[in-house]
Amino acid sequence: MMTAVVYEWRRLWSVRATWVMSVVYLGVTALLGGGPLYLGDTRMGVQTWKGLYSTNGNVLCLVMLSVVASQFFGHEYRYGLIRLTLSEFPARERVLVAKTSVLAAYVALMTFVGWSVLGMVGALAPKGSISTSGVGLNISGGQPSDMWQVLVFGFAYCVLAMSITMITRNLAMGVVLPLLTATLIEGLIQGFSSLSNGKLDWLVNALPFVNGNAWLGKAPDSPNAGLIFAAWIVGAYLIATLSFFKRDA
């Protein structure tokens, strides 16, 4: 098993795209975390350290990681490399486990480095812009998330991106589909729902990112939000697994 992980690790870091997207991710994290501190946005109260550290749970940060996540299978299909990979590791479950573990390691690594960057941003911020007490601001809405939630959400988002690429065999789809869903499509559905006097509430309550964000922001009225979000991610991953195992390489 280790050799498949080594293969995957080398695959990941031997293209410049990975390095570029990782740096962009850290840049966006710094901007998004630092922005409110410098602008003195106190509408939701003064920012706290906990609030600052939930910044990289935001979809706008995660989209950079999802580019890398999509490349886990996207590059393989695009350049025919999947046939080299599977000639070397004919047992497909090994390839899938290796890719998923390396993706988890990558997301964890980037999240930790992201927090270090946010720590520096906070340390350099104007005096008084961060309080050590109080609730603080979650840029995704609601209350600041716990740090483990940021990590789990980031991984889940990237698993979704990777799964969509596995199903569509198209790199761009893995990036665009989750991003559009999170930032646009679900918003539109919520809009229609409020216009239709709540007839579409059941749909809104089932949407992946509505639930994901409710879970991240600890919304008190959505106790099952985490479960519903998890069901979406696990479902996508299972379909992707099936499609990877059953189809021609």
């Binding site: 050799t3 031997s14 350049y79 025919g80 046939r83 080299l84 590791f89 004919p90 189809r247």
Partner: protein, 304 residues
Amino acid sequence: MRIEVLGLDKHFKNVHAVQDLSFTVEPGRVTGFLGPNGSGKSTTMRLMLGLDNGSGQTLFDGKKLTAHSPVTRTVGAHLDAKFFHPKRTAYSHLRMLGAEAGISKARVNEVLQLVGLESVAKKRPGGFSLGMGQRLGLAGAILAEPQVLMLDEPANGLDPQSIQWLRDFLKFYASTGKSVLVSSHLLSEMQLLADDVVVIARGKLIAAESMSKFLARASGSAVVVRAAEATRLGELLHNMGIESSANGLNTLTIPNQTTDRIGEVAYANGIKLSELSSQTASLETVFLELTDSGQEYRLGGEAK
């Protein structure tokens, strides 16, 4: 390592690409895998490696590929000259492929040198020529010195010197007791390389035998003679019920005859010949014949 291909079969939507195909590849020999464009060579190779789904199985020394470890020391495959990331350097590409067998950096450099890519080892292969891509693909296949080499049209895009080099290399590789399966749609390319041939057309096995046997059947299908009295010879043959066609000045092409027979006729009639040769039919011509009268041919051949 002996490869047994047993009843491989594969349907695409509208094409029955591979039809109940069985053959063996023996160690210590180069086996040429021949067939015209679209005959199913690449599909067969993918089926052998488990990349495509289909029925039938392929055994490597009696076991499935997944039962061998490390796999890359068992089979090295080179399926396409374009299977690399355009921005991953040749060196990094091979380092990645070396993961499963634990290939050292020194071995990666050695192989790069062997295939003549050492000067571009740290370059991105996006700008490589077709020939350079073939070399990189070959490098990946031989990296772990596998017992079996499977190469899909590795000579495409190579210049004559490189083809010569590849031929020598593959012959040498097989001579160390390993198995080499090389596909091509050109018989001429295989004539000097392969010890055995597996020939397919439209996904079906046409022949699986030694190259010399196959050539004996492919050639001799026509005799070419050049003589000052070509016209008289033509008439004589016609009277004997042998048809010939004039082919330029003083030259006759006589199908379905042997040089022995035509030489005899000319000698008996005192016709001086300036040339008497058998025309080796091109693989394409043979295929046309074989797919029309494929049944007979297959019965004649000792299909393994």
